[in-house]
Symmetry: C2
Subunit: 400 residues, 2 copies
């Protein structure tokens, strides 16, 4: 009967038709990018744009906006004016970029929007577009390697009493976790930066690929990595309360993880690290809970004394580094030998193209602290390649 056909056809083609105009705007099934350019690996499938040139490290963008008056791409701190052709399609090509991941926005007249042809990456507190500038061999460590065993990223919901609601975190377990049902593992708690969320390390950071490689090659010991959200997703009352993140970690998250995963629960088998503001949260949490952590890392986010280095009211300037070493974090650095006895590793990293804490690190070393490692990512700024490299350098150093 015709009805059956119409039913099937209406369902299938009705859905497609309603999306037809929108479909014209997608970078799919359109003319392929010019020679030398390939779709970025961040693109959703079928999307030809943005396209990246591995040789020149430039990116080409495309937006369909027939009646817009001004369309721009906002990438790595620069706005590029796009040029419209007679079909209402705007394009532009960027300057050469640092390899790795970058957020970007499209400005349609007065509005910063997401380019819907890439996967969504949470950054600056909202959903953003992303682009990946391809790297040569160096990038191998953060790409999927089909020839080694793979761990899993587990999406976990848990109840937080402090938050008064469920929370979401991602937990990486190493490939062997499933094969060794009696084995217990050390745990690294790993935080993203300001405006990002618990998916940052999995999506932007490629944590699973990095760790799979480090563990398969024997460089890192098999470990569990817990990636929670540093911005507390709850009502503002709780969120703005001081020390809330540390409280949630200590009272809700760590007990939950230790109950639901096969973890080693002593401090020698628990580490914490974070990037940018996650580095501040790491120092706050670890230095206030020295009985619970023995390893720590701050990637592009080591702040002496948190924000305590601000000039005191009425003071002419901030305290000197040596003053800070005496007082920061309630004097945790004051007795260098005592610090080294507690903390097996304080890993401090940065990119060479961002503000550099080298002077502070040198002062801490001169003060007698031995368990410091300082890592610089050459040629990178406050961006994800800096942090992929930091994790790749940090993870082999812990739990052994």
């Amino acid at each position: 009967m015709k009805k059956v056909f119409f039913f099937a056809a209406a369902l299938l083609f009705g859905v497609i038709a309603s999306a037809q105009f929108a479909g014209m705007q997608r970078g799919q099934q359109v003319e392929p990018p010019p020679e030398g350019y390939k779709p970025s690996s961040c693109n959703t499938f079928l999307s030809q744009y943005p396209a990246v040139n591995a040789q020149t490290r430039q990116a080409m963008f495309r937006v369909v906006a027939p009646t817009a008056r001004k369309v721009q791409v906002d990438l790595a701190g620069k706005r590029y004016d796009m040029t419209k052709n007679d079909k209402g399609i705007w394009t532009c090509i960027s300057d050469p970029q640092v390899v790795g991941f970058h957020y970007y926005s499209i400005w349609i007249d007065s509005v910063a929007v997401m380019d819907r042809n890439t996967e969504a990456y949470f950054g600056s507190n909202w959903e953003s577009s992303g682009i990946e500038i391809p790297e040569g061999q160096e990038g191998d460590y953060y790409r999927f390697n089909k020839n080694i065993p793979h761990g899993q990223i587990r999406s976990i919901q848990y109840w937080s009493e402090i938050n008064g609601m469920e929370r979401h975190c991602n937990v990486y377990v190493p490939a062997e976790y499933e094969q060794n049902p009696a084995m217990k593992y050390p745990v690294l708690y790993l935080l993203h930066g300001w405006g990002e969320d618990e998916n940052g390390w999995s999506n932007q950071g490629h944590t699973a690929n990095i760790m799979d490689g480090l563990i398969a090659s024997g460089k890192a010991v098999p470990m569990i990595i817990v990636m929670d959200c540093g911005d507390i997703k709850t009502n503002p009352d709780v969120r703005t309360a001081s020390g809330t993140l540390t409280d949630i970690f200590i009272k809700d998250l760590i007990p939950f993880i230790d109950k639901n995963f096969r973890t080693k629960t002593d401090r020698q088998n628990r580490a914490m690290a974070g990037l940018s503001r996650g580095g501040m949260q790491t120092t706050t949490t670890v230095f206030n809970n020295m009985d619970k952590f023995a390893w720590m890392g701050t990637f592009s986010g080591f702040f002496m004394g948190g924000m305590g280095a601000r000039p005191a009211a009425g003071a002419a300037q901030a305290p000197s580094i040596s003053q800070q070493i005496e007082t920061a974090f309630n004097g945790v650095f004051k007795d260098a030998a005592a610090f080294d006895k507690q903390i097996n590793l304080l890993f401090i990293s940065t990119g060479t193209e961002e503000r550099n804490p080298k002077e502070t690190v040198e002062a801490l070393k001169a003060h007698g602290i031995k368990h410091i490692v300082f890592h610089e990512s050459q040629g990178t700024a406050h961006e994800w390649l800096t942090w992929r490299r930091a994790l790749n350098d940090f993870a082999p150093r812990i739990f052994k």
Copy 2:
């Protein structure tokens, strides 16, 4: 030293400053929505809009676009014109909506963009905004319940020989999976619809909440659910090849899952279901591999004979239902007793507000097929509440 302070301050405030203008556009830290309206549960944290009214089931939207000439919201097939105030903020309130999840877009002049204040949901082949109209008690089954044990959604990358690249799928394991390291479980393969991806069932569908509830209450047996992508994320050559999805499932995915999860591997312990086009893919896959599946579900997507119900070239009309029963899917329905011997359950569901396959279901029953269950979702169309209800009704019927 000042440098340390400046370093910390520049890092923290620099990041914030560069996002400041964009920040003004976010629906965060702005005036709260009017009385009766609350932020939608799909919003990213801090975002006040869109806001939903549980009583009237209306949604209020907000966009900051000072120089745009026309701003609209596209929701459930209707475009709403937004009104601008003297600050360049556009708002509108929708008609009453069906409860549950809806995709929507914002039109800025000629461009359909995503509202970046909601989580990103992949639909219509690109990243979309979503809104959740709250439900009363009925919605309990798809909300997080802190009083029961929770399964995990595992994010899995695996190598596909057919695809020639890595693929990503999500795997739900029941809460008890970790506690019973020797236990094996049946597996449901569950597909999304056209233009969506492997995250649809987790994000839009709340599969974990639904299954946690069904299993905790004893209504469904503990099972593994594998959610892969029905749109094949690879180069167009492979993607357009006929039967590729079935091939990937049979040759790559199922062997991978059976190797890496504790599965029962006989056909009595393997089911497949899908929504909309995923229903078509389910019939194609199951009916061509009857040695591998014994249970199946098609949610809003039962197509007799696939698209084979099209009139033959030169024929006046499509074949009648009884003709189709003889020939569809190489005659799988022809011998009703043989069908029932192979298939324990053919679950066919639909919403009452979309095209209804009731006539076909009745004909199949009249033909003698007994293992059919027909489920109607009252008052819903081709949308996620229909499919949450379908899963909630389907899952308790399989593997027992």
